[in-house]
């Protein structure tokens, strides 16, 4: 395939994947610019938005523009690391464009962990948060199981559809149900630390920080749209928990 040698396509793909996997806007732009500059393009201009990336550059005396749309956004830190490494190594002329494509398309995990094992480990974080926010041993266990069921449900919904609102709503409802059941069966367990600990990985606090940071950096459109995304996510969690607590 001839397009495997096209560094313009590689640059736009790297930027789109950076946004897809939760990288910041300026990082996606810098990544695209460094690949294009490293391969000898001139007059590089890149616009990265949460939903699309557009790049234009002068290559061998011709202006060329490419765009890519970004449909779903998740967080995958090892992919960010890999894309960053590709852009740096291409800018340093250490690897060819084809090798860059190969590294980007290799989607396997670095650790090779199965999703169930990952969910089991992830839930331990929720247990620890429950302890930090005023819980004991009972709260740790309750938050652990609540977060595990929630995680499993979220992964199940995300494998069917990329509709975040539904998975977050259902996940927070499951958490609240688990917390109330635990409080019914064991009188010593308090509901509040369990719920807070278990929703901590769901809560968009970090997305909110990123949104404000984008706005401060000057990426106004990204900042606003990420802020709206945060708001929607917060509403989903709030209504999920509130529905169960009100019953």
């Amino acid at each position: 395939m001839s397009c495997r040698n096209d560094f313009m396509l590689l640059a736009i793909k790297a930027a789109a994947m950076m946004i897809e996997n939760g990288g910041e806007t300026y990082r996606a732009e810098e990544c695209c610019i460094s690949i294009l500059n490293g391969c000898g393009a001139k007059e590089v201009n890149v616009i990265a938005l949460p939903t699309a990336v557009i790049a234009t550059a002068e290559i061998d005396g011709e202006m060329r523009t490419e765009c890519a749309s970004v449909k779903n956004r998740t967080i995958n830190l090892s992919m960010i690391d890999r894309i960053n490494a590709v852009s740096r190594r291409i800018a340093m002329c250490e690897i060819t464009v084809e090798e860059g494509f190969e590294i980007l398309e290799k989607r396997s995990d670095e650790s090779g962990m199965r999703p169930v094992v990952r969910a089991l480990l992830f839930s331990l974080a929720s247990g620890s948060f429950a302890v930090i926010f005023g819980g004991g041993v009972g709260e740790f266990i309750a938050a652990y199981f609540a977060a595990f069921f929630c995680r499993y449900f979220v992964q199940f919904v995300e494998s069917i559809t990329s509709y975040n609102f539904l998975s977050t709503l259902g996940g927070s409802m499951i958490i609240a149900v688990c917390a109330r059941l635990a409080a019914v069966f064991y009188n010593t367990i308090e509901v509040e630390p369990v719920i807070i600990g278990a929703i901590m990985p769901l809560v968009p606090g970090l997305a909110m920080t990123n949104a404000l940071r984008d706005t401060i950096n000057g990426d106004l459109i990204s900042g606003l749209s990420r802020g709206v995304e945060t708001l929607i996510c917060a509403i989903a969690i709030a209504s999920g928990v509130a529905i169960v607590l009100a019953v």
């Binding site: 490293g38 830190l77 340093m92 990952r118 809560v203």
Partner: protein
């Protein structure tokens, strides 16, 4: 937010929370240990400062320290800064305040809800301000004091200049080799 008033237990559980959060977010293995220590340090600073000043100033200083450590270690292990600071900042994120805001709105207490919402925004605002300030400070330190272009963007610009002028001085070659 201390476990039974015991600082060691709090530190231990913060460490555990950051480690397992990083595992869940698929962080590269070489960053997890640094992120966990960084996050624990930041949360301890936050708790300590909360006794003396307002929580907003405390979270500003704590996030600033986290980001400085993250920026410097990220340049050593050649990973993006975000990966380390993203996981290390998780214990500080105002999840409880956001939950409180939502619960007040759901219960119909709009006055308390708006108060809690403004508190949350100010808290998150001081965190993101600290992140931006730390990034700028580190950039100034690296470009003005050490005179080294460390970001891939700067490297690309340097490569381009080299290829255009075909003039590679001895100093630049040594800089390029050190970056590999």
């Amino acid at each position: 937010m201390m476990v039974n008033g015991n600082a060691y237990l709090t530190a231990l559980f913060t460490l555990l929370a950051v480690v397992f959060f990083a595992v869940g977010m698929r962080a590269p293995l070489r960053t997890i240990a640094i992120a966990a220590l960084d996050g624990t340090l930041g949360y301890m600073i936050y708790i300590l400062l909360c006794y003396y000043t307002s929580s907003n100033l405390a979270v500003f200083v704590a996030t600033f320290v986290i980001c400085l450590v993250a920026e410097f270690t990220a340049r050593i292990i050649k990973a993006p800064t975000t990966i380390i600071s993203f996981t290390a900042m998780v214990p500080l994120v105002p999840g409880v305040m956001l939950y409180d805001t939502m619960r007040q709105f759901a219960a119909g207490n709009f006055n308390y809800g708006i108060e809690a919402a403004v508190k949350t925004i100010v808290f998150a605002g001081s965190m993101s301000l600290a992140v931006s300030v730390a990034a700028v400070v580190v950039k100034i330190v690296f470009t003005k004091i050490f005179h080294s272009a460390k970001t891939p963007y700067d490297c690309a610009k340097k490569n381009k200049e080299n290829s255009v002028t075909k003039l590679v001085s001895v100093g630049e070659v040594s800089v390029n080799k050190r970056k590999d």
